[in-house]
């Protein structure tokens, strides 16, 4: 980590380390809270696979409702 500060400089380097830390904490949070709501999904790949069926079901109910 210290070698990054030699490249970026102390001030921008520390800022990048903190900002990237906060952004990745947020993306970790998205995954964690999604998993809490959908315990049946075990991987990101499964999520993407499921997406299709979810959208189909959604389109279906929209048609029924209209």
């Amino acid at each position: 980590m210290a070698s990054f500060l030699d490249v970026l400089g102390l001030i921008p380097g520390v800022l990048v380390i903190i900002v990237v830390g906060i952004l990745t904490t947020y993306t970790d949070y998205i995954v964690g809270t999604f998993k809490l709501a959908h315990p049946e999904v075990y991987t990101l790949a499964e999520y993407v696979k499921r997406l299709e069926s979810l959208h189909e079901r959604h389109a279906h109910t929209t048609v029924l409702a209209s």
Binding site: A2, D6, L10, V20, G21, T24, D28, P39, V48, E52
Partner: protein, 354 residues
Amino acid sequence: MIWGPIGREILFVGYWLYLVFVAGAGLLAISTALNAVSDHAICTALFTLVGAATVMLIASIQTLDRISWITWVGVMGIMTSVITLTIAVSQRDRPYAAPQTGPWDKQLKLWGDAPFVDCCAAVAAIIFSYAGAPAFFSVVAEMKNPRQFTRSLLVCQAVVISTFTIVAAVVYHYCGVYLSSPTLGSAGGVIKKVCYGFALPGLIAGAVLNTHIPAKLLMVRFLRNSEHLANNTKVHYIVWFSCIAFNASISFIIAEAIPVFNNLLSVVGAFLATPLSMTVECLMYMWEVRRKDEQPTMRGRLMYGWNFFIFVLSLFAIGTGMWASAMAIKGDIDKGNLLKPFGCADNSGFHPAS
């Protein structure tokens, strides 16, 4: 929408490959640590092999909760190691890599003046070292009390971010341009051995997780829709140990055989780790919002915008990170700066004699 089946294959292969590369890097780090503590006692490729065998044995323990003890040992080890390094560099007159007599200047920079491509590489490496969002599916699945997820995440990340920041800033303050490469050797001599000795269990624990998880991905894939997945049958054990052996072998081979492995690892960081741990998560948020199709509130719109912002930022990071690592590989090839496959040379930094 054909995203589903194709996207799933891309994400599966991408995540697997990403973990296999990180495990390979972990095996090399283990060989560095063994070189450091033993004064390069045997050929580095053999140390890597010893690391791969150890990791394979521990990673084959079947459930994550039964190997959680090693992550505790690992975390304690790594923390002790970086704290030792931080204190040691502050106690030294001069860093180990600086000229030990005569005038010297550590050239501390508040603002960097490195070329743009080097800055992109540094930012990409920082993103890579934080990458791990896809693993949170397993983290939540393994939690005793999943409702405490948010609190645990915040505590964990606060510790990680402050350790990164403080250790980096203090070590840089005392060493400046005279950081050793790898950094853990910056205090030199006995302290270098102490730092690597404490780090070793952490490096092993990391490689164990990064071998265990992709092996499990493969096993679940092979045994899906089979009674052997959840039952302790003979087939189950054979498939499991084969997956572990396969993963550990691939990690060992790519780490040792690819002459530009370190820079190729940076390509993996930009091309696989960044999209898998930032881009896809933001898309996930936006897809979920669209799927629910609720009346948008002000807060909802702001959150959507925030996710779109991180999404764009991550695309920028992927592009610049890949560009920077491609330039680094080109530089290595042009300068003939290539590692000998399965070579024996010491990878723990220079010795006092040289």
